[in-house]
C-alpha cells in the first residue's frame, strides 16, 4: 500500500512510465514530462535539498504561479519527510512574511524575481529562513548572494549527491508514513490572521482515492492547473487526484493566456469557481451581441432548445425523439462550436465550488451538455464534504455527503462533519484546533445549512453572519448577496441588517458588463468611479434589487430581508485593500468598519454621503479616492404567501 505521495510517485513511474505526467507551455510549445522523467526531476531536487541541509520535518515554502518545478517542490519536500508550505503568489510582502515566520520555514522555492524580492525582504524577521531557490533567473543576475540558489544548480548538486549516496533517498521515502504531515495550507480566512491547516498524507490520499472512484477518473484525464497552488482545491485536484489516478496536469503559460491554453489543452476534467463560469458566460453574451443577425437568431433559438432538452439529457431523463433531433442539430451548429471556443469540447466532468453559482449560469453550461456539478468543501476537510452525484445535480444545493464523510446539522443550524480527510491540526495553534475539532473528530464548518427533502445539503450563509433583524426575523446576508450577484451588472454586494430595522446593501458594479452597456448606449465615462455614480446605472441596479425583493417576498422566512436602501460604491472592493480575501471572498467586518460612514448614512434619512477612502495600489503605494455617493430607496413588496 502506498501510504505517502513519494511512494505513489515511485509506483506511478513504474506503472505509467512513458505517459505524460505534467506539461508546461514553454517557448510557445507544450513541453511534457513523463511520470518517469518527473520522478527523476523530483529526486534530483530532493537530493539537492538534502545537500543544502534540508532535514526531516523542515519546511519548504513554495511561492509562484503553477509551474512544474513548483509542483515538484511539493513532492521533493515530501520525499525527505519535510513539509511543503505553498503561499499565494499575489500575497504582499507582509502576508508572505507572516506565513514564512509562522511556519518556521527554512527554505523557499520561489518562481521569479518578484517572489525572491519579497522573501529577501522578509528575511530579517524570519530567523529560520536560510535558503532561497529560484526557478526563473531573469533579473537576478546581480543578486550574488550565498543563500540564493538556481533551481538547475540545486538539481545538479542533487544528482552528484545521489551518486555518492545512492540509497539515501529511497530509505528516506520508505521511512515516511501516511500519518506524517504532508502539507500546510494557509487559509486566507475572512477574519483575522491566516491559519496553517496541517493535512497528513492520508488526509489527502484517502480523499483523493474516494473522489477518483466516485467520478471514475482515469489516467486519461487532462486537467488545466491554473488555480493558486496554495489553495486546497488545487492541491487535491492537481496533486492528490493526479497522483492517484495518474492523469496529466497542464500548466498555463501565464495568467493572461489561461483562456487560450484551455482551448489548446481541451481538458476532460475541469474545475473553476463560479466567478470564472460567470465571466465566460458574460463574454459569450457580449460577443453574441456583436454577432450578425443570422448568428444571433441561431444562437438564441438553439439555446431555447438546449435549456429545454440539454439539462434533461444530462440528468438521464427521458426525452422525445424530436427533441433529441433538435438538440443534435443545435449541437452541430451552435453548442459544439461554442464549446470549442470556450475550450470545453472534451470536458467530461467539471466542478464548481467556493460560492453559490447563479442558477442561470449553471443551467447555461449544463444545457450545452457540459457536466458541471457542485461540491461543498473546506481546507480542513481536504476539500470534499458534499458532492453532487451524477443525475442528481441542482443549481441550489451542494449535494450529498461525499464517500466516507458523515455530515450533521447541529441544533444551532451549523453544519458539522467527520471524514478521513479531517485535518490534523492548525499549525502551532492548538486552541484554534480545539475550537473547531472535537475529540471525536467532528469539525465545525462555521456554515449554516440544512438538508432538503432530497437529502441534499443547502448552505445559507456563514453561521456567524446569520443574524436577526430587530423584529426578530432571520437575516442571512450572503443569501441576499448571492441573489444580487447573479445579475451580470453586479460584481459584488454586501448586505447589512443584523440588529437593524431593515436591510441595506453596498453594491459593486461589474466594470466589464456595465462598461459594455455604457458603450452601447453612448454613455461616456472616464473612470470606474464616474460610471458607478451614473444615474442610469443606479436605475439599472435598482431594477435588479426590485427583482430580488420580489423573490424574497415569496419566501416566508426571508420576506423581511428585502433591501430597502442601497448605494453603489465608488471603488472596486479589492484584496489589496483588505476588503476581499485572496480567494475573492468578502470580508464583511472589515468592510463594515471601513465604510461605517456610508452604512450610517444608509440607516439615517440621507440622500447622499461623502466619503474619502484610502486605496492601496499594486506596488504598495497608497492613494485616496473621494466621492459623494448617492443613496436610493427601493420598493418593498408585501409578502405573498405561496399558494399551497
Amino acid at each position: 500500500m502506498n501510504d505517502t505521495f513519494p511512494k505513489l510517485l515511485i509506483a506511478n513511474a513504474r506503472r505509467y512510465t512513458d505517459r505524460p505526467a505534467i506539461r508546461e507551455k514553454d517557448m510557445g510549445i507544450w513541453q511534457s514530462w513523463t511520470w518517469q522523467q518527473m520522478r527523476d526531476e523530483i529526486f534530483a531536487l530532493a537530493n539537492g535539498l538534502v545537500a543544502l541541509g534540508f532535514r526531516r520535518g523542515d519546511k519548504l515554502a513554495i511561492v509562484g504561479a503553477n509551474r512544474p518545478r513548483l509542483y515538484w517542490g511539493i513532492a521533493a519536500a515530501q520525499c525527505l519527510g519535510g513539509i511543503p508550505v505553498p503561499i499565494y503568489a499575489d500575497s504582499g510582502q507582509a502576508e508572505m512574511e507572516y506565513v514564512l515566520n509562522h511556519a518556521e520555514t527554512g527554505f523557499v522555492l520561489a518562481e521569479d524575481q518578484e517572489q525572491v524580492d519579497k522573501a529577501m525582504e522578509s528575511r530579517s524577521n524570519c530567523p529560520a529562513l536560510e535558503h532561497i531557490i529560484f526557478d526563473d533567473k531573469r533579473g537576478l543576475r546581480d543578486y550574488a548572494r550565498m543563500e540564493l540558489h538556481d533551481f538547475d544548480a540545486v538539481q545538479s548538486a542533487g544528482r552528484q549527491y545521489a551518486e555518492q549516496n545512492p540509497d539515501f533517498l529511497n530509505r528516506r521515502i520508505a521511512a515516511g508514513t501516511g500519518d506524517d504531515p504532508g502539507i500546510i495550507l494557509y487559509t486566507s480566512g475572512t477574519t483575522g490572521q491566516p491559519k496553517g491547516v496541517v493535512l497528513t498524507h492520508n488526509n489527502v490520499l484517502v480523499t483523493a482515492i474516494n473522489s477518483v472512484r466516485l467520478d471514475n477518473l482515469t489516467a486519461d484525464e487532462e486537467m488545466l492547473s491554473y488555480l493558486p497552488m496554495a489553495w486546497v482545491g488545487d492541491h487535491i485536484f492537481s496533486y492528490g487526484q493526479a497522483y492517484v489516478a495518474g492523469f496529466c496536469i497542464n500548466c498555463p503559460e501565464s495568467e493572461a493566456t489561461v483562456a487560450n491554453d484551455l482551448r489548446e489543452v481541451g481538458p476532460t476534467y475541469y474545475f473553476a469557481p463560479p466567478r470564472v463560469f460567470e465571466n465566460i458566460l458574460t463574454s459569450v453574451m457580449l460577443r453574441m451581441e456583436d454577432a450578425g443577425s443570422l448568428k444571433q437568431k441561431m444562437f438564441h433559438s438553439a439555446m431555447t432548445v438546449a435549456r429545454k432538452t440539454g439539462v434533461a439529457l444530462l440528468n438521464g431523463e427521458s426525452v422525445s425523439m424530436l427533441d433529441r433531433l433538435r438538440y443534435w442539430l443545435g449541437d452541430l451548429f451552435v453548442y459544439g462550436p461554442l464549446k470549442n471556443i470556450m475550450g470545453f469540447s472534451r470536458v467530461r466532468l467539471a466542478y464548481t465550488a467556493g460560492e453559490a453559482i447563479g442558477p442561470e449560469i449553471f443551467d447555461f453550461f449544463r444545457a450545452l451538455g457540459i457536466n458541471i456539478k457542485q461540491l461543498y468543501g473546506q481546507t480542513e476537510a481536504a476539500v470534499f464534504i458534499t458532492t453532487q452525484p451524477d443525475g442528481e445535480v441542482y443549481a441550489d444545493t451542494a449535494g450529498k455527503p461525499s464517500p466516507e464523510v458523515e455530515v450533521k446539522i447541529t441544533d444551532h443550524g451549523e453544519v458539522i462533519y467527520r471524514s478521513p480527510g479531517v485535518f490534523h491540526s492548525y499549525y502551532r495553534n492548538p486552541q484554534a484546533t480545539r475550537e473547531v475539532k472535537d475529540e471525536h473528530g467532528w469539525v465545525r464548518t462555521g456554515d449554516a445549512g440544512f438538508f432538503n427533502d432530497k437529502g441534499h445539503l443547502k448552505i445559507i450563509d456563514r453561521a456567524k453572519d446569520v443574524g436577526k433583524l430587530s423584529n426578530g426575523s432571520l437575516f442571512a446576508p450572503k443569501y441576499i448577496e448571492n441573489k444580487l450577484k447573479f445579475f451580470p451588472q453586479v460584481k459584488e454586494a454586501v448586505a447589512f441588517g443584523a440588529g437593524r430595522e431593515f436591510v441595506t446593501a453596498l453594491i459593486n458594479i461589474d466594470l466589464e458588463a456595465v462598461g459594455n452597456w455604457a458603450e452601447r448606449n453612448n454613455i461616456p465615462y472616464a473612470s470606474y468611479q464616474e460610471l458607478a455614480a451614473h444615474g442610469q446605472v443606479y436605475d439599472m441596479v435598482m431594477k435588479n434589487i426590485i427583482q430580488v425583493n420580489q423573490d424574497l417576498s415569496a419566501d416566508r422566512r426571508l420576506c423581511d430581508s428585502q433591501v430597502r436602501r442601497f448605494l453603489i460604491l465608488h471603488k472596486e472592493l479589492d484584496a489589496d485593500d483588505g476588503e476581499l480575501t485572496r480567494t475573492q471572498k468578502v470580508r464583511r467586518r472589515i468592510i463594515a468598519e471601513k465604510y461605517a460612514r456610508l452604512i450610517n448614512a444608509l440607516y439615517a434619512d440621507k440622500a447622499s454621503c461623502y466619503i474619502d477612502t484610502e486605496v492601496t495600489f499594486e506596488d504598495g503605494r497608497k492613494g485616496s479616492i473621494a466621492a459623494d455617493i448617492e443613496i436610493r430607496d427601493v420598493e418593498i413588496f408585501v409578502p405573498v404567501p405561496k399558494a399551497g
Binding site: 507551455k25 517557448m27 510557445g28 531573469r138 533579473g139 543576475r141 546581480d142 543578486y143 503559460e253 501565464s254 493572461a256 493566456t257 487560450n260 499594486e618 506596488d619
Partner: protein, 264 residues
C-alpha cells in the same frame, strides 16, 4: 542593491555634427559618444533636434558636416539596406508596426536581415529554410517570454492598446539583436504603470543582453532614474553632457527647461 556598473569602449562617436534642412539648422556642431553597455539619454525641449540626432546616428540622415564613428570605423552615407544591417536597431516615436500582422510576425520581421537562405530555398520551404525559421522563431519566443507578451502572440497588433504596441515595437528592435538600440520616446503617452514596466524592460534588456541603449525621452524622472549619462540639446546645440546628477544641477539646463526670468 546597487552594483558598480561597468562600461566598455566607445561604441559610437558623433564628431562635430551639423545638419540642416534648407535654411533650418537642426543640429549644429554636436559631439558626444556612446560607450558600450551604457544607457545613454538624449533630452531636450520640443524641437531641440533629438529625433534628428537619432536619425543621424541611425544613418537615415547624413549630416552636412561632421563624422559618425561606429564600431571603430568612420561611416559614410549609406543605402537603406546597409542601414538595416549595420547593427543598430530602433523604435519610433509614432509606432511603426505592421498593424495587420500578429505580434509574432512583427517580431519575425525583426529577424529578416539575419535570414540567409535564398529565394529558391524559401520557396521550397523544406530543408534549410525551415531549419532557419525554427532557429529564428526560438529567438523570437525568448523575446516574447522576456517581454511577457505571450498572451498577444497571435493578436494583430492593430488591435492592441498603445502601451502593448510600444512593447511589441521594442520586441521587434530586440529581435534584430543589434549592438546599439535606439529608442525614440519609448514612454510617450503611457500611464504610470506602463512606464514603470517599460523602465524595467529597458534596464533588463541592458542587463540581460548587454545591449547598449540610446534613448530620447521627455519624462525627466524616467531619464534621471535609468540612464547612465545624459546629453542635453536645445535649438540644435549641445547644452550639457554628463551624469544625471551633473546635468540636473547645470544652470544652462535649468534655464532651458524652466525658462529664465526677464523681470529684474
Amino acid at each position: 542593491m546597487t552594483v558598480q556598473r561597468q562600461f566598455g569602449d566607445v561604441l559610437l562617436e558623433a564628431k562635430n555634427i551639423s545638419l540642416s534642412f534648407g535654411g533650418v539648422r537642426a543640429l549644429s556642431d554636436i559631439s558626444f559618444d556612446i560607450r558600450e553597455k551604457e544607457i545613454r539619454a538624449i533630452i531636450g525641449p520640443n524641437g531641440a533636434g533629438k529625433s534628428s540626432m537619432l536619425n543621424v546616428i541611425n544613418g537615415f540622415y547624413h549630416p552636412q558636416q561632421g563624422e559618425i564613428w561606429f564600431n571603430g570605423k568612420k561611416r559614410n552615407a549609406m543605402k537603406p539596406h546597409q542601414i538595416a544591417t549595420q547593427g543598430i536597431a530602433r523604435t519610433f516615436q509614432n509606432i511603426a508596426l505592421f498593424k495587420g500582422m500578429s505580434t509574432l510576425d512583427n517580431l519575425m520581421t525583426g529577424r529578416l536581415t539575419r535570414m540567409k537562405t535564398n529565394m529558391f530555398w524559401q520557396a521550397l520551404w523544406r530543408g534549410p529554410a525551415e531549419r532557419e525559421e525554427i532557429e529564428h522563431r526560438e529567438k523570437v519566443e525568448q523575446i516574447i517570454d522576456f517581454l511577457k507578451i505571450q498572451s498577444i502572440r497571435k493578436t494583430p497588433v492593430g488591435q492592441l492598446p498603445y502601451g502593448l504596441q510600444k512593447r511589441v515595437e521594442l520586441g521587434r528592435a530586440l529581435a534584430a539583436e543589434s549592438r546599439l538600440l535606439l529608442l525614440d520616446e519609448p514612454m510617450a503617452g503611457m500611464n504610470l504603470e506602463e512606464k514603470e514596466d517599460m523602465c524595467r524592460f529597458i534596464l533588463d534588456v541592458n542587463d540581460e543582453f548587454g545591449t547598449t541603449i540610446a534613448l530620447i525621452e521627455h519624462d525627466m524622472g524616467v531619464v534621471m532614474d535609468i540612464s547612465d549619462r545624459v546629453v542635453v540639446l536645445d535649438y540644435g546645440r549641445k547644452l550639457a553632457d554628463g551624469s544625471p546628477q551633473a546635468v540636473r544641477g547645470d544652470q544652462n539646463v535649468i534655464d532651458a527647461y524652466l525658462g529664465v526670468s526677464h523681470v529684474e
